[in-house]
Every structure is written in C-alpha cells, then in structure tokens.
Amino acid sequence: MSKDIAISARGLGKHYLLGDAGGRNDSFRDLLVSGAKALVGARRKNAFKDFWALRDASFDIRKGENVGIVGMNGAGKSTLLKILSRITEPATGTARIDGRVGALLEVGTGFHPELTGRENVFLYGSILGMRKEEVTRKFDAIVAFSGIENFIDTPVKRYSSGMYVRLAFSVAAHLEPDILLLDEVLAVGDLAFQRKCIEHAKELQKRDATILFVSHNMFSIKTMCDRVIYLRKGQVIYDGDVPGGIELYEQDCRGAALSWTETRPEEWPIYITDCQMIDDSGKPSSIIDYGARPVLRLKFAVRSPVEDPNFIVAFVRSDGVAACNYSSELDGVKLGTVQKDGTLELQLPPMKLVSEMYSIEVLVREKGFQRILSGQSAGIFHVRHPLYNTHFGVFHEDAAWRLREAELAT
C-alpha cells in the first residue's frame, strides 16, 4: 500500500440471509416451529434468500481526501461504514486502514442516564477509543466546548436532549481522528446536530483528516466532498467527481417507492413514471430560486382505472420534516375516473421554503382521502437563497412592520 493511501478496500462484501423470519429465529419456540416445518418439508423453496448488502466494493482513498458515500436507502452505505469502523465483519474482501478511525455513526451511544456529565465524559471517551489520560487532558476543553459547565456534575437524565447531544458531541469532537466516518443518515432528526457534525468535519478537513461522509443531503455533499462513491444495490457503480454522483442520485430518486410500501410501483394501479420541476424559464431544473413559481410536471401510468384519484405532493426537507403539502382534492380538482397514462402539471405558488434540499413525495389516494394507491419518492430539488436557511424556520415570508414612537414615549 502506498504511503499516502488512508483506506484501501478490495472486494468488500457482506451478505445476510433473508427468510421467513428475516433469516433468524427470535426465540427458541420459533426455532422449534421452523425446525418442525423443515422436517415435514413445509418450508417453501428459496424461503431463505442470500441478500448482499454490499458486494465487491473496491476503492482507494488518499489521505486528506473527503469522500461522499451516496445512494438510495438500502444501497449499502451504512453497511460499508459499519465494516470500516469494525462494528461488523465483512464476509469477503479486505480493507487496510492507515490511521486512527473515529466513527460518528450515532452520538451518545453508551451514555448512561444515571451517571453525571463528568462520569459520562470519561465513559464515552473510553467507548470512542480514547485513553483515560487523553480524556483527563482534554476534559476542560470538552466541557467548555459543550457549554454546560454548570451541569457537569448533574446526572445526565436531568439534561434536556439538546444538552445531552452537546456534551456527547463535544467528547466525540475531541477524538482527533485521522479518519472520520460520518453517517448523517443515522444522525438524522436534529438539524442543529447535523450542522454541528458538518462544522466539525470542516474543522477536521483543515487539519488534513480523511473523511468518509454518508449523507442524503446533496448540499452537504457538495460543500464537503471532492469525490463521490455511489452505491446502488450494494455495488459501487460510480466513483468520481461530485456533480456526476449527485446526478445519479437525482436520477435514482425519481420514482422510487417510499420505504413503507410493500410492493413495487409497477404492481400498483397507478404510479408516477417521471417527475420534473420546471423553472420560470421553462426548463427542467433541480435548483429553484426562492420566490420563483415553478411547475411540477408528473407523468403517471395507469394499470387499472382509478376512481377520483387524489394526487398529494409533499416536499420533505432533508432532515425528514414535511415542509408543505399539496392535494388535488383540497384544491378542488375533480379528475373523474382515470383510465389512461397521462401528465399532471402542478403550478406551485411562489417558493417560500428556505434554502435547503427537499425531496418530492407523491401519494395517490382513491376517492379523496380513502385507500392509498401509491407512494413514491419522485425526485429532489434545492431551494436557493443567499440568506434564508433553516435558521430562519421552515419558510420565510416578508411581513410589514410599523413603529409608533408616540405611544412608546408615554
């Protein structure tokens, strides 16, 4: 391995057995039952399927390189990070890692609510792989960075969730790894925390650390990374510059079934085949300026006639917040019985959402708000504005202000 390579992976693979009970028996009783079934031959053939969560992944990452790991849900991104952080063992292949690895897969794992902040700093530091001497040396800095000096001897169970995360993150931020594995997808739920992660990663970038960054947020990928490894169904299908990787992601986002659906879109009576945001100049674009009035063009396919379909379009922010929602039914549109494939255009009101990445989710319900017929992720877009970001809330709308000096004076 040459000297400037931080991570060298060759043919990494990991497979799971998928079967009746997810490939395993949760209790002894299940084992007995499935054993009995096997005896009488009641088990269907292929009941257990070999599922490769990651297959034959090979790449070299140079020291100081910042690589985004991108792909849809279930593409194998988290599996890859879990293998590199040694939480789980690969089934095939090898990886050689040169340097100390810090894995921020989830912050605060191992914190114990009964222990005080101080005690948890030492425990968590040790869990992350720091020596006691190292934690002792950095203790004051860790506490200062977290900003909760006054509560450091209070049991963590009395902390607000914000304080909890701040302290845990502060410990993690002082790990000073050579290689940082960051999974923003797992850390999802708290935008403030995501931002902290990114700030921390940028700090490490300045110190020439190598960063592997899993994210669904193409904004973060754009600002953080100089290379993208794209995974699809467990395989590396792209390894190159950032724009190329993002383009693949945007392609894959179009039409994918939402995670709660059980079958594939092609089996539904109606489903979306294409979705485009058309900007004010009439061209398809995935970047929409704040204040613009884009048109959302949905192409749909019909397998069997649908009575009074209600198309619902939701814009979901990258941290999972449903930011806004449009429904053809609520807007008083009666589509009657839809029997043939077609295109639906949704003229959006001026875009007031703040600068962020949003995914477009499209649901079709039958007869108003009855049975859900389809649920798909139809694509993603970014809203662009130099100032308004999530610090300003979900959306921003100009308002009028009046100052009445005379009344203030009395």
């Binding site: 789980t88 794992t109 000073e176």
Partner: protein, 277 residues
C-alpha cells in the same frame, strides 16, 4: 499524530477457529474497567439504601436459611453456628449467580453499544463478572462481624480467599461465554437462567454440609463444579474439613475446558452480534 505512531488496521473476514486476537482485549482494558465501574456505580445510585443492598441481600438470604434449615429442619452445620456456616457459602454463591447472570445477559443489555461502536466484545462478559466483586467484598464485612461475634478466628487458610474468588469468577465467565451468545439469538435464556441457578443452588452444599451426602453418592455429587468451590470457601474462612481434591479437580477441569472453548466459541459468534442482536 506522526506517521510512525499511526495504527494500521487490516479488516478481513476472520478465518478459522483460533483467530482469537486476545491482544485487542488487553488494549481495551481501560474500557473494560469503565464498563465494570459503571455497573458498580449505577447499581446503587437510585436505591434509597444504596450500597446497603449489597449487604442486605445475602444477609436476609442467610437469615431465612438459618430459620428454616437451621432452626426448624435442624440441618447439621459441621459443628459451627448455622448462620456463619450458611453465610460463608451464601456470599460466594450470590456472587457466582450474579456474575453468571450479568455475563449471560450483558450483551443484550448493552446491545446499543454492540450495534453502534467497535470494541472487542469479549470485554462485556469480563466486565460483567468483575463488577459484582464489590458486592461480595461488602458482604464479607458482615461475615467477618458475625465470625467475631461467635468468636471464630480464621486461620492462615483465609489467605487463599482471593484464589477461590478467582476460580468462581472464571467459572461464571466460562459459562457466560457460552450462554451470552445464545442469549443474543434466543432471549429464552434470560427466562430460564434464574430457574436453573436456583436448582443449582440446592444441588450445592450451601444450606447443608457436604458430609450429609451418602459416601457412595459423593463422587457423582462432586461433578457439580461449584461443590469444590463452596467447600473451598468454607475451608478458607471457617477451617472446616479439608478441600475435596476430587471436586476441586472437577472444577478446574470444567473451567479449563469451558473457558478455552468459550473464548473460541464467543469469538466466532461475535462476528454476527451486530447483525442479529
């Protein structure tokens, strides 16, 4: 960090049965200490009586045994006051049962850690059997007080106490290494264990002396590895009888086989913990 001190890690599927890498456990000794320390710390943090529970639990057990088996059933006690006789066995047994319970369930209790962080999994059962030593030591204070009350002075044999404790620890660990990974897959173990330990306790000379067992059954009885250990504790503390070499031999054999086999088995099972837990 300079290039020279940067650790190089090679990740690959482990091959064979004897790819143990015990050095990794040694390198994680600080985490091992913290996990054991955490157990001790949180055990009594929220209890109003705090550390007193470490003493009260075996004390009440010994009290009940004294009443039922000593007073009413009039079990022999090798010529010692029954309370001392039974407490000297209840304390190591309580330690053993607790160590075994924690070693067997620790992986599941700490499943969050197992799923999210890398460290040699072996340190979980090791920390589990280490932490109840603290309870044992507190309990010993009571026993010493009781012996003082009855005017029993221990001989030089008391110096062997740490040895017996270590043997007990090894036995609990050896069994925990087998039971723990099974518990990861089948939680039934968690429900079966209390029952098994209770039956096991009555098959061990705790409420009665070894001498009560008819001669011809003694060899069979001594196949229970805890027999030699409990008798060893009594001999060390109270000077009764002589260590039964046969049953100590049994204990050693069981520990040696189960511990070595357990480590190998555990290391093999460990590879899939994060996936199935």
């Amino acid at each position: 960090m300079t290039a020279a001190t940067r650790p190089v890690t090679v990740i690959r599927p482990s091959s064979g049965w004897f790819d143990l890498d015990l050095g990794a456990v040694w390198r994680s000794r600080e985490l091992l200490f913290y996990l054991a320390w955490r157990e001790v710390k949180i055990r009594y943090k929220q209890a109003a009586l705090g550390v007193a529970w470490a003493v009260l639990q075996p004390l009440f057990t010994a009290l009940i045994f004294t009443l039922i088996f000593g007073r009413f059933a009039r079990f022999p006690s090798d010529g010692l006051p029954y309370a001392v006789f039974t407490l000297a066995a209840v304390l190591p047994w309580t330690y053993f049962a607790e160590a075994l319970r924690r070693a067997s369930t620790g992986l599941v209790t700490d499943s969050e850690l197992v799923r999210k962080v890398y460290f040699p999994r072996l340190i979980i059962p090791v920390a589990s059997v280490a932490s109840p030593i603290v309870d044992f030591l507190f309990g010993m204070l009571i026993l010493v007080g009781l012996m003082f009350w009855y005017g029993i002075t221990p001989g030089w044999t008391i110096l062997l106490l740490p040895f017996w404790l270590l043997i007990t620890l090894c036995l609990a660990l050896a069994i925990g290494l087998w039971v723990g990974p099974i518990n990861v897959r089948y939680r039934d173990v968690m429900h079966t264990l209390p029952f098994v330990t209770q039956v096991w306790m009555f098959a061990t000379p705790i409420v009665y002396p070894l001498s009560i067992i008819p001669e011809k059954w003694q060899a069979l009885y001594s196949l229970n590895p805890m027999v030699g250990i409990i008798e060893g504790f009594r001999w060390s503390l109270l000077g009764t009888g002589r260590p039964n070499m046969f049953s100590i031999g049994v204990s050693f054999t069981v520990i040696a086989i189960a511990l070595v086999g357990g480590i190998v088995y555990f290391r093999k099972a460990e590879r899939s913990f994060a996936d199935v837990i």
